[in-house]
């Protein structure tokens, strides 16, 4: 990844803009004064100890969680109570979950074509054609007729990625996509994500895969206790962390 392209992406106007955002779960203040600008085509890795609010942060971006204070603007649309805005944003933002969350009663092909047919109103034949091209991109077109329960974890996660891509999203959110996988399957999922990154997709990835962060991220964000503690390009983040808590976290995850 050359340095020029990283800078270029920062200069464009932001596709996601979060200002002074707070969120509570009951009395628990889970996100505190979050400010984050994401440029078009920018790739951000978010890491931090468990309970630091990193998953909650990206779940606020497509309103799986509701924030109580501050603004979140995605592609010029502000996230408010307005259900229409939420639906618009959700159809532009893809999400991949730790537990895959494929629909077990539908075949792989039906999983992947469901949203294009019902949300985008695509004719079935066209949706299936597009679905097959994405399944080829994640390298499992031969599994199209199977049910998710018949696939390995790595294959299921790749189907989940294809399912999101079929909506032609502008932004992809990844919530610990490899944490539930057996070690030998992590690479096949990361390879798909790296390829996606190279195609210029805007990506926010919550992960502890530091190799992935180094390879594709423009910025690494470290969160702890509901706050953004530090944000740096990956090289600086790993080699020269500024904050003590970052140093402690890095020493814990890198030395085992």
């Amino acid at each position: 990844m050359n340095q020029d392209s990283k800078n270029a992406s920062k200069n464009e106007d932001s596709i996601i803009s979060i200002r002074g955002m707070h969120k509570w779960f009951g009395d628990f203040h889970v996100l505190k004064n979050i400010n984050l600008e994401v440029g078009r085509g920018e790739r951000i890795v978010i890491c931090g100890p468990s309970g630091s609010g990193k998953s909650t942060l990206i779940r606020c971006i497509n309103r799986l969680e509701e924030h109580q204070q501050g603004d979140i603007v995605v592609e010029g649309t502000e996230l408010t109570e307005d259900l229409k805005n939420i639906d618009i944003i959700r159809s532009e933002v893809g999400m991949v979950f730790q537990q895959f969350n494929l629909f077990p009663h539908l075949t792989v092909l039906e999983n992947v074509t469901l949203a294009p047919i019902w949300v985008r109103k695509l004719p079935r034949a066209e949706a299936e054609e597009q679905a097959m091209s994405y399944l080829e991109r994640v390298k499992i077109p031969e599994q199209a007729g199977k049910y998710p329960g018949q696939l390995s974890g790595g294959q299921q996660q790749r189907v989940a990625i294809a399912r999101s891509l079929c909506m032609n999203p502008r932004i992809m959110l990844f919530d610990e996509p490899t944490s539930a996988l057996d070690p030998e399957m992590i690479k096949e999922v990361l390879d798909v994500m790296i390829e996606l990154a190279e195609s210029g997709m805007t990506m926010l990835v919550v992960t502890h895969e530091m190799g992935f962060a180094t390879a594709v991220a423009h910025r690494v964000i470290f969160m702890d206790g509901g706050e953004i503690i530090e944000e740096q390009p990956p090289k600086a983040f790993f080699e020269d962390p500024q904050h003590d808590r970052t140093k402690l976290f890095l020493s814990q995850i890198l030395h085992h």
Binding site: S91, H105, Y147
Partner: protein, 377 residues
């Protein structure tokens, strides 16, 4: 360490797949492991065999070999036996079959009942059968069937009207049960969704309705239907008794279905809702395509259990004087020609209910198997 009974040894990584030990397979193996595995089991097996030996011959004699199949009354029946009551008098059931089937439905109009039975069979077949050409039209037909049946049975719109009081026997039982079953499912699903709604008023209405209906015995509701409802309705309006009973039976079953379906909805992981939301599906789309198909699949045993329960509970209508198969049969026992043939009657009625309930239970098992896609949600 247990001693190894396989003297052969293999190099690591070359162990072949071996067949299981033969002692546990085959007929002999089955008998050994299931009937004679311990002294206690052996004793129980022998006692059971002795017991069967004692009751089977006389049962078979009474039910089949010593039974009389055609006679005009009980006296003739008994005259044909070695001793009175030595065998079953099935002539009683045969002679009453028409009454049991149609109740007092007027003779010249009975073709309408027969047609309804045939259409009912077709609707059940078309709705339940998978891989049938034109499945969509079968489903539409099954959905329209209850209304079609109501028109056929009660008349109007060109057919001779038949008062609902003329219905009786198996016809009445099926009308009550099928109405209860087919309307309680959609109503129950709606109540279950309402109970999980974010709108507090809707939720409260559903909770109160479900808890009230579940908290009152069905017989009480039937008495309410037969006596009290007339006080609540505007004076002069006549609301048919059968109609009131059908509504009560449906509401009663719906409350139970609602709780079963709610259990199914809670059995789904929140990830399914989130994935559907994240793809931009609306509330109705995600429920129709993602949530309900899975929740109903989990709920099948409970739903069928409720169906079987409400099917059998339909006999309770005899308490408010409606002559379903049980009520009509009991009335028939007082007929001087057939006085005192209660065992024959109750065996027949038991068999009728058992066959239909067993069919439902088997269908639900096969449905569960068919919907299994190798994934636990």
């Amino acid at each position: 360490m247990t001693k190894s009974f396989n003297p052969q040894s293999y190099e690591p990584g070359t162990h072949p797949d071996l067949p299981p030990p033969t002692i546990t397979t085959g007929l002999i193996g089955w008998i050994k492991t299931n009937l004679f595995s311990t002294p206690l089991n052996t004793a129980l097996t022998l006692i059971s065999l002795w017991f069967l030996w004692q009751i089977l011959p006389s049962s078979i004699h009474w039910l089949f070999t010593g039974a009389v199949w055609s006679a005009v009354d009980r006296k003739e029946c008994w005259a044909m036996m070695d001793a009175p009551r030595d065998g079953a008098c099935w002539a009683f059931i045969r002679g009453s079959l028409e009454l049991f089937l149609y109740g007092w439905y007027p003779e010249p109009e009975r073709w309408r009942v027969n047609l309804t039975f045939v259409l009912f069979g077709a609707a059940v077949f078309g709705a339940l059968r998978e891989n049938i050409p034109g499945k969509k039209y079968w489903l539409i037909f099954a959905a329209v069937f209850p209304f079609l049946a109501a028109w056929l049975l009660f008349g109007g719109f060109g057919l001779e009207p038949v008062p609902t009081g003329k219905l009786g026997g198996i016809l009445l039982t099926l009308v009550v049960a099928v109405t209860g079953i087919s309307f309680s499912l959609p109503l129950g699903i709606a109540l279950a969704l309402g109970r999980r709604s974010r709108l507090p008023v809707l939720r409260a209405i559903c909770v109160i309705f479900i808890e009230f209906i579940r908290g009152v015995p069905l017989i009480t509701l039937l008495f309410v239907a037969s006596t009290m409802l007339t006080y609540f309705l505007p004076p002069g309006s006549s609301f048919d008794l059968l109609m009131r009973v059908l509504i009560m039976v449906t509401l009663f079953a719906a409350a139970y279905i609602a709780e079963v379906v709610r259990g199914g909805l809670q059995g789904l992981s929140s990830g399914q809702y989130e994935a559907a939301d994240a793809l931009g599906l609306t509330y109705w789309q995600s429920h129709r395509l993602i949530i309900l198909p899975q929740a109903l699949k989990i709920s099948i045993p409970g739903i069928v259990n409720t169906f079987i329960g409400s099917y059998k509970d339909s006999v309770l209508v005899l308490i408010i004087g409606m002559m379903d198969i049980l009520g009509l049969g009991r009335a028939r026992l007082n007929d001087p020609d057939w006085l005192g043939l209660a065992p024959e009657l109750y065996i027949f009625i038991s068999l009728f209910f058992f066959v239909s309930c067993f069919a439902m239970a088997r269908y639900s098992l096969s449905l569960e198997k068919k919907l299994e896609t190798g994934h636990q949600t």
